[in-house]
């Protein structure tokens, strides 16, 4: 992934999470992964197009998703219902959109597609072995892994 793309995603994740969760957010060390299997249980996917092709995935456990949605809605949510899904989807949308906005300011043209949410135990998603950048974010509600797999449109 182009080095110029990295900071916008890292900053957007940090800024948005800090604002919507109103809490201390810590970023773990970035690393590269060769399979793009969601590991934690709930995955929100936002597609990217334009100068690049690919997608951003937000990976977290069900417990974290419920806790995050509860914090964002200002009420205790214990069922994984439409509201929780809509909230997590919106979170993914906001972070990706902010990153895209920053990239736009740097001169890169990205478009995003509407987000999709996937849940399940032992989920497997494989996009023909694309390399992904992992940005682990630690929140009081749990860990959220931001998984960016994009490549230049040749």
């Amino acid at each position: 992934m182009r080095v110029e793309y990295i900071n916008p995603f890292v900053e957007a994740a940090f800024n948005v999470l800090k604002e919507v969760l109103q809490a201390d957010i810590r970023r773990g060390e970035l690393y590269l992964k060769s399979t793009t299997m969601p590991v934690l249980g709930v995955a929100a996917l936002v597609g990217l197009a334009g100068d690049v092709e690919g997608r951003v995935m937000f990976d977290m456990s069900k417990t974290t998703a419920l806790a995050v949605a509860s914090a964002m809605n200002g009420e205790q949510l214990s069922n994984f219902d439409e509201l929780v899904k809509a909230t997590i989807t919106e979170l993914a949308n906001m972070i990706t959109a902010q990153a895209v906005t920053k990239l736009h300011d740097l001169g890169f043209r990205f478009d995003l597609t509407p987000p999709a949410l996937f849940t399940g135990d032992n989920m497997e998603v494989s996009d023909h072995e694309v390399e992904a950048l992992i940005v682990p974010m630690e929140t009081p509600q749990g860990k959220i892994e931001i998984n960016v797999a994009i490549r230049e449109r040749v």
Binding site: E19, N73, A86, E90, V100, P114
Partner: protein, 146 residues
């Protein structure tokens, strides 16, 4: 000695959502996310605004506006939606009612989208995540201008 009763309620503020005649401003909320619609609804209702309808896409937004016209004071419009996006919907509404008051709400803060919507007639543009204070400020600002 003057008591509290002699002064009009200094510490109580009029809820911003009420018109001078005491009736609430009527708002149409347009967003495809249940979460965002709920959020905007909560923010506005807490200040006395009345959310008279919600639409989940651009098409529905235009329909509802035409239905409820002239009893709509304000529209909050999301940009990325299925079927018809917010910019197109804005265009239709402005063609229908050149005095329509529409505030764009989006996670994308790209300059060209902002410019485009303002040129088409939107009164203001708010970037998500939504901040309660900012939303209320902008809404009040738009409604005051006549």
């Amino acid at each position: 000695m003057k008591t509290k009763q002699d002064f009009p309620s200094i510490n109580e503020r009029e809820p911003e959502g009420l018109k001078p005649d005491g009736t609430p401003y009527r708002v149409l909320v347009v967003d495809d996310s249940m979460f965002v619609a709920k959020q905007i609804n909560q923010i506005l209702t807490s200040e006395g605004y009345e959310v008279v309808a919600t639409a989940g896409d651009g098409e529905e937004a235009v329909e509802k506006y035409k239905e409820l016209f002239p009893n709509i004071d304000l529209v909050t419009m999301d940009i990325t939606m299925p079927k018809m996006d917010g910019i197109t919907a804005l265009e239709h509404i402005m063609n229908f009612d050149k005095n329509a008051k529409v505030i764009m709400i989006s996670a994308l803060g790209k300059q060209d989208l902002v410019k485009k919507s303002l040129l088409l007639g939107a009164k203001n543009y708010i970037v998500k995540p939504l901040d309660r204070k900012k939303v209320l400020e902008r809404v009040a600002q738009v409604l005051k201008k006549e």
